[in-house]
Symmetry: C2
Subunit: 134 residues, 2 copies
């Protein structure tokens, strides 16, 4: 696998509008985009910082995985995503080496990003995604 | 304030040697540096990823703040650090706007980095540093 960069860092928040205001107040970074991803039950706001996206994520559905995470852990760091050039190939390679992925093969995120999550016990307790963003 | 990039992401770990091995096994990134920072009671390992350092941090003293964090939260994400060009100026500006810093003025990290922490309640529950690395 060849990691290219940190593609994005997600923060989970309770109230996206309030969080956007707070993030901008502290860091003075312009908001790039705000969108809903119905398939995941989330609304998200993206800020660009160098080669990385900072993404604030609010669950908008009670049964979304993000809502369960928020209820359990509260607001804060959610996950880190590393960019790779061939996520299908990397996923196959990791599986062949006995490393657990969730789900078993890549899914689609915003803007057609192809994502796969590595099980947390493999990644030092940090929720981690691999992303191919074309 | 002008954020330049994500300067580093810290992971807190129990056993640095084991964590280095695991990080390399999964991500296949070369280790850049391993060092001790006695003033903070930590040992750390740095990996370079694009414009950002990934830093694994193990407490090596029972009374270090990192040890307290590890005991309370377990292994995982520790903090995110954003690079700024003038950390003293940024710290003054934030204080003038009523934003709480810890400590009140920048301290030194590895390689002469000048660091200041922003109180977590200001940063959406994510431990956050500002860094000037010259």
């Amino acid at each position: 696998m060849n990691l290219k960069r940190i593609h994005h860092i997600d923060y989970v928040v309770r109230d996206l509008s309030r969080a956007i205001e707070q993030y901008r107040k502290i860091f003075n970074v312009p908001l790039e985009n705000r969108e809903r991803l119905e398939s995941r039950g989330i609304e998200l706001a993206r800020f660009r910082l160098g080669e990385t996206w900072i993404i604030l994520v609010q669950p908008v559905r009670d049964n979304s995985p993000v809502k369960r995470f928020l209820d359990e852990h509260g607001e804060g760091f959610f996950h880190i995503a590393y960019e790779v050039s061939d996520v299908e190939g990397v996923a196959s390679d990791l599986k062949a080496r006995g490393i657990k992925l969730m789900p078993d093969s890549p899914r689609r995120g915003v803007e057609g990003w192809k994502l796969v999550d590595i099980a947390m016990e493999e990644t030092l307790g940090v929720m981690t995604q691999l992303v191919e963003s074309s």
